[in-house]
């Protein structure tokens, strides 16, 4: 028999909030990447607007966590779940911020023709999106192995980033406008690399929550 059924129900609600927030963040990153591919500034505007909602959800999760800590004195796995929720909410919020960053790039580049077709950036975006999905699913399933597997994908993202970095540096010349666009694209690659890093943080949070162990997934 569970002697703290009420409290444990609140923790379940907290986890649902995280998942709901994760869903919105996934949506934001998808839309941001798509807006860049198609240089669709209306879609980009929408991502920027929706970020307010995600910020509110973050605050909501934080408040819920603090309230549970203050009123319920959680211990052991309960404590770790709440600690992980705080951390994961922060990481999700950062990912959403990067979605906004990417969308703002879209808006800055709107009306321009791209100097080269985008190949590696979409691949990188695809992996980053997958990682976010994986991270959220490992959270739902409390699956340590899936969370740990994020490290492998993060390595791929890191490799792609250095390829993109070298490519872009080579493409740079003396044309100001060209260099400006290339720098923006480099920054997008940087954002995506950060998104991947945040998903590994989420994975670390999942591992801590489930097993109490600290593991660095971003080596």
């Amino acid at each position: 028999m569970d002697n703290r059924a009420n409290f444990h129900h609140s923790i379940e609600e907290l986890q649902n909030d995280i998942l709901k927030m994760g869903h919105y963040v996934e949506e934001a990153i998808n839309q941001a990447v798509e807006s860049l591919m198609t240089l669709n500034d209306t879609l980009a505007e929408q991502v920027v607007e929706n970020d307010d909602l995600i910020d509110k959800m973050t605050l909501n999760v934080e408040e819920r966590c603090l309230r549970l800590i203050a009123l319920q004195q959680p211990l052991a796995s309960d404590l770790r779940t709440i600690g992980a929720a705080l951390k994961i909410a922060t990481d999700l919020e950062r990912i959403a911020d990067h979605a906004v960053d990417i969308s703002k790039t879209t808006i800055r580049l709107s009306g321009e023709n791209l100097v080269k077709p985008l190949i590696d950036i979409p691949r990188m975006a695809e992996i980053a999106k997958e990682m976010l999905k994986e991270a959220l699913e490992s959270y739902t399933e409390r699956n340590v192995n899936r969370a740990a597997a994020l490290a492998v994908k993060d390595d791929e993202v890191d490799k792609l980033y250095s390829t993109i970095f070298q490519d872009i540096v080579q493409l740079m010349g003396s044309d100001y406008n060209r260099n400006r666009q290339l720098t923006h694209l480099l920054m997008v690659a940087q954002y995506l690399e950060r998104v991947a890093d945040h998903t590994t943080n989420i994975g670390e949070g999942v591992i801590f929550m489930v097993s109490g162990k600290r593991k660095d997934l971003n080596l």
């Binding site: 569970d2 444990h8 211990l75 052991a76 796995s77 109490g212």
Partner: protein, 248 residues
């Protein structure tokens, strides 16, 4: 400093402690937690042989304090209890003056000189963080003190015989939250001079005051480790279930 090895304890047929082994380092605070009837108080009372008073108790194994097995036949129980003091669940001052309560132990053990007793009483009350509140009222009855003050008086009384170990059996379960915090604060100060073992039903209290925590269930020591490990990341599922309230 306190080394318990393969300790079994029976109340008649009832096996109350099952093969308990643990080492409690000097000048540390150890908390015993677990549900009612798990054996934590029984174990505490084996450390100053208060269980001797129950006729049906049988003990196997050893409890060694500073290298001496306290269950050797030649051990003098009165001297053992002088070294291993105890504070009880209910504040239990004697119906005497504050002074006489604290001086009780030293008098029992042969201190007669007034000046010597005065010094002991003041020092013990200071160590128990009670001196400033009672220094003008030493001749007044201990029953006039509040519950929290009475409990600190009982701590002072235990300190007056200059023990090495202080056993506390749920020392704050009868007190209000502020008195409880004062006692907890005091326990942490006392750690500098004494080895402390505390039985508590309040897991937050164990978390606040102790260095290491042992979890007991049905007479068995399930888990014994650093307090933060027990409360943030216990190894045994039974500990996990107990501290998160999923027990039973």
């Amino acid at each position: 400093m306190i080394d318990i090895q393969s300790l079994d304890l029976f109340y008649g047929e009832f096996h109350a402690l099952k093969n308990v082994s643990m080492f409690l380092p000097e000048k540390s605070i150890t908390a015993f937690i677990g549900p009612s009837g798990c054996g934590k108080s029984t174990l505490l009372r084996t450390l100053n042989r208060m269980n001797d008073m129950i006729k049906t108790v049988k003990i196997k194994g050893t409890v060694t304090i500073h290298g001496n097995n306290i269950y050797e036949p030649e051990v003098n129980v009165e001297l053992l209890r002088k070294r291993v003091g105890m504070v009880f669940q209910q504040p239990n001052p004697f119906p005497k003056s504050i002074y006489d309560n604290v001086a009780y132990g030293p008098r029992i053990h042969g201190t007669k000189k007034k000046s010597e007793l005065d010094d002991i009483v003041e020092k013990s009350l200071r160590d128990a963080a009670l001196w400033d509140e009672v220094k003008g009222d030493l001749k007044k009855s201990a029953y006039g003190l509040s519950g929290g003050q009475q409990q600190r008086l009982c701590i002072a009384r235990a300190l007056a015989v200059n023990p090495e170990v202080l056993l506390m059996d749920e020392p704050t379960s009868a007190l209000d939250p502020i008195s409880t915090l004062k006692i907890e604060e005091l326990i942490q100060q006392l750690k500098e001079k004494y080895t402390i073992v505390i039985v508590t039903h309040n897991m937050q209290q164990a978390g606040r005051v102790s260095d290491q925590t042992a979890f007991f269930l049905n007479g068995e020591m399930v888990e014994f480790s650093e307090t933060d490990t027990i409360f943030s990341n216990p190894v045994d599922q039974r500990t996990e279930d107990y501290v998160t309230g999923r027990f039973g």
